[in-house]
């Protein structure tokens, strides 16, 4: 392994060669970093064929993300969307968006990226019979119901979904080679922010001619192109030197190595055989072992996920707002984050993540602050005297804090409280989906796209996709609808914040804390940063 790597002395020679070969191209190369080096990063085996519209799990995303550049990309520093392939995305009514593409971009096979590359790819992904994982992301575009009709009795039912009545989304229209329009079925001011997600990536013509060939050798338009794949071992990518984006990778080859277990990957990371791993295994986190093992090679940052406790509104007594407030005010977030997470979590004071543009602190108000007196008062008002049950799966290391929360509730309120573990995440989710929860339960959220809206609508709007607890508040829904229709993103943010404020007294879930992700890098990497989505920011990587 180490023999195949460049030693420091040959590395400088390689840099000199690159500088000579590409002359002006890499003039801003930082001195001392090796732009011709290859790095290996941790990955899990992709669970699906490598097509952007059909990949929503992390193992596949980590491969496709560097290979494709969409209309917008999210900045690694603050998760804000910036135009990538889009020259501009304009709208006057938040319903019809006109997209102008940058010219001169090519796919890795040399064909140009045009408006059709986007429109055809989106139509393909949304089309029901193609059965893609990403189809639902297109549901806001006009004509989605016609190309992807809902299954009348759910996916497990006897009936087959009806045949689609159209093959293409009526809301997409190509104007010219580099312009297309998107019409939504309802106004949605935040829409341009959502299209940075990888299911919105463009696809080259060759994909539609021969899908199998594409899966065997995916062709993108991003900073890295596909080289080879050994199923179960690794996937190799290399820098695409004709990449037109503003940021250029400062290293050449990217190998995504598949590991049998996180623990074995961690052993390789510690001994510098692996260059980056973005989430360390539990045995490294326990007792801060990683600090001893990695020292200054620990990479840490606050990322876009939070931990909450959800309520089953369909089960008594959790439909009682006073009881919900009593539980929330009885949890000592400061103490638990300090004791159990040793400061790697930050107490939350609202439902919107602090990294979001427009975030306002303290939106949850007094209901998210530890206050034993008020908590007891609220409990007395609720009239409830029975026990509180907290449910969670334990395979993700949730037992400790769940027990701490239960104890905090028990000691503060003086009523019986108990933690009920379930062994697997799959089983737990199944019960959540089937609305079979018998107590309050652990929940969390990872942002799909960086917008305040993503922390509210999918979780708390009546009938929304991830509103598992069946919370419903017509006034809150109306405020969200108003925000969706706002003429600009800034106006929308104001209205979403109002909506967040409105649901505080209802307390549809208890915000607990937001999270730091702890990653590690090898000694070879001078710089390697995490982005807010818990993955390595490839553009930041500098090899010594």
């Amino acid at each position: 392994m180490s023999g195949a790597r460049l030693t420091p002395s040959t590395a400088t020679a390689a840099v000199a060669l690159v500088l000579a070969a590409t002359a002006c191209g890499s003039a801003e190369t930082p001195t001392g970093s090796n732009t011709d080096a290859g790095i290996t990063i941790f990955n899990t085996e992709p669970e699906n064929p490598l097509i952007p519209g059909n990949t929503t799990e992390t193992g596949g995303s980590r491969v496709l993300d560097p290979m494709f550049t969409g209309l917008v990309e999210y900045r690694a520093q603050d998760a804000q969307p910036v135009n990538a392939m889009a020259e501009s995305i304009e709208t006057t009514d938040s319903k019809v968006f006109t997209v102008k593409l940058k010219q001169g971009w090519l796919f890795h096979d040399g064909t140009p990226v045009t408006a059709n590359s986007f429109v055809d790819a989106w139509n393909w992904t949304a089309y029901g019979p193609n059965a893609t994982q990403g189809a639902s992301f297109f549901s806001q575009i006009e004509g989605y119901a016609a190309v992807n009709p809902a299954d009348p009795d759910g996916p497990d039912g006897e009936q087959k979904p009806p045949a689609p009545t159209a093959e293409e989304l009526s809301g997409l229209e190509v104007v010219d080679d580099h312009t297309f329009t998107i019409t939504l079925s309802e106004p949605f001011a935040v829409f341009p922010v959502t299209v940075g997600y990888e299911v919105f990536a463009p696809l080259p013509e060759s994909f539609f001619k021969d899908r199998a060939a594409f899966e065997a050798n995916p062709i993108g338009n991003g900073p890295f192109k596909y080289v080879s794949r050994t199923v179960g071992t690794d996937i190799k990518l290399t820098r695409y030197d004709d990449y037109k984006g503003t940021d250029k990778p400062k290293f050449k080859d990217l190998t995504l190595k598949v590991y049998q277990s996180r623990e074995s990957a961690y052993a390789d990371l510690v001994s510098n055989n692996l260059d980056f791993m973005e989430e360390l295994p539990p045995n490294a986190l326990a007792g801060k072992q990683y600090e001893t093992d990695l020292g200054d090679r620990v990479v840490q940052r606050e990322t876009l996920n939070n931990q909450t406790i959800a309520f089953p509104f369909y089960t008594k007594p959790y439909d009682n707002a006073d009881l919900r407030r009593a539980i929330s005010m009885a949890i000592d977030r400061e103490e638990i984050t300090k004791r159990i997470f040793e400061g790697t979590r930050k107490p939350a004071d609202g439902w919107v993540h602090p990294l979001m543009k427009g975030y306002r602190p303290g939106q949850c108000g007094e209901y998210c602050a530890f206050n034993p007196a008020k908590a007891k008062e609220a409990l007395a008002k609720s009239g409830y005297t029975g026990e509180i049950v907290l449910l969670s799966n334990t395979d993700g290391g949730h037992q400790e804090w769940a027990e701490a929360v239960v104890n905090s509730v028990k000691n503060t309120l003086g009523i019986e409280a108990r933690f009920v573990p379930s062994t697997s995440f799959g089983e737990f989710r199944q019960n959540v989906n089937a609305r079979k929860m018998t107590g309050i339960y652990r929940s969390g959220w990872i942002a799909d796209y960086p917008s305040i809206e993503n922390w509210l609508t999918p979780l708390f709007r009546t009938g929304a996709s991830s509103n598992d607890g069946l919370y419903s508040n017509p006034a809150f829904d109306a405020k969200l609808a108003e925000a969706d229709k706002a003429p600009s993103e800034d106006a929308a943010i104001e209205l979403y914040l109002e909506a967040e404020r409105m649901m505080a007294p209802d307390l549809p879930s208890i915000p607990l804390w937001t999270q730091n992700t702890i990653a590690g890098r090898s000694e070879r990497l001078k710089v390697a940063n995490l982005d807010p989505f818990r993955t390595l920011d490839l553009f930041s990587v500098e090899v010594a």
Partner: protein
């Protein structure tokens, strides 16, 4: 002999059908929807789930599902996983790696185990005998995952003598994981051969051979060893089968891209097609290994006949 082999092969058919049915039923009966968690944090779209259910015949009754699977299987079609990878291709890629690991482990186990057993068996109650007894007791009482992590931590991370994981699964790189994998069985083999040797040492034929004036080396090497190795051989044979399927822990620790890791990950991701496919192959290997061991008896002991 030919008839015996044929009979044994025919007996394999019901065993094969029975085991594959059990595996199939158990794999798809694991609680939790196989498409739960496939689409990241959110639920999979209905059209995706219904297509997958159709592809894996999940809407049919279980016997019919199994029948369809079996018909494909006997035609050599192991099916495709949900990620579009051919199950047979994956088996073909991972099996040789595990076979290599198993052979390394078997060699270590046989050489060290039998040597230790013979040495201590010949020296009743001596220092070497006690040493073998104590060290095997030590090995037997430590689970493989502890041995594996300790070896990785001490020799890989702290001392830096070995690479902590296996990058390319060549025979040389597999020696360390092979040692870990063999450690437990090595102790058993040593004790088994020790007991066998100690017992046969007092047998009449050994006394006769010695009385005839044969050199001790020849008595031990040919007469004693040949008879004493029959139970050891049974153990080694079935152990090879166990190594092939049971290397999950070792492969996980040392990141060996073999069958064990494949099964483990497929169970975690609820990839039923892959699990049934691999385990079916393992069942076949196990059946063939036992047959091979039985046939080897006849070679070692001419009194054992199969007709």
């Amino acid at each position: 002999m030919g008839r015996y082999v044929l009979r044994r092969l025919l007996q394999m058919v019901p065993v094969f059908v029975g085991t594959t049915f059990l595996i199939y039923a158990l794999v798809w009966a694991v609680p939790g929807d196989p498409f739960e968690g496939k689409c990241g944090e959110r639920d999979c779209p209905a059209s995706y789930v219904s297509m997958m259910r159709e592809r894996f015949n999940l809407d049919d009754p279980l016997p019919l599902q199994y029948w369809k699977y079996l018909v494909n299987l006997v035609q050599g079609d192991f099916g495709v996983t949900s990620s579009g990878v051919q199950v047979l291709d994956r088996i073909a890629a991972t099996f040789p790696v595990t076979l290599r690991l198993a052979l390394v482990a078997l060699l270590i186990e046989a050489v060290i185990g039998v040597t230790a057993g013979v040495v201590s068996g010949l020296r009743d109650r001596g220092f070497l005998d006690s040493l073998v007894l104590v060290s095997t007791l030590f090995l037997i009482s430590i689970p493989v995952f502890v041995t594996g992590y300790v070896v990785q931590l001490v020799f890989g991370l702290q001392l830096g003598w070995i690479a902590p994981t296996v990058t390319t699964p060549t025979f040389g790189n597999l020696i360390v994981p092979g040692f870990v994998l063999a450690s437990l069985s090595m102790a058993y083999v040593a004790r088994l051969s020790r007991a066998s040797i100690a017992e046969n040492r007092r047998a009449d034929y050994v006394r006769t051979a010695l009385a005839k004036g044969l050199p001790t080396r020849r008595v031990v090497g040919v007469h004693l060893l040949r008879n004493s190795l029959i139970p050891v051989l049974t153990f080694l044979g079935t152990d090879l089968g166990a190594f092939l399927g049971g290397a999950i822990v070792t492969e996980g620790i040392f990141n060996v891209p073999g069958v064990g890791g494949l099964v483990f990950r497929s169970i975690l991701t609820k990839d039923g097609a892959m699990v049934t496919g691999v385990v079916t192959v393992l069942v076949l290997v196990y059946l063939l290994m036992t047959l091979l061991v039985d046939l080897l008896y006849a070679v070692l002991d001419p009194r054992i006949r199969y007709d």
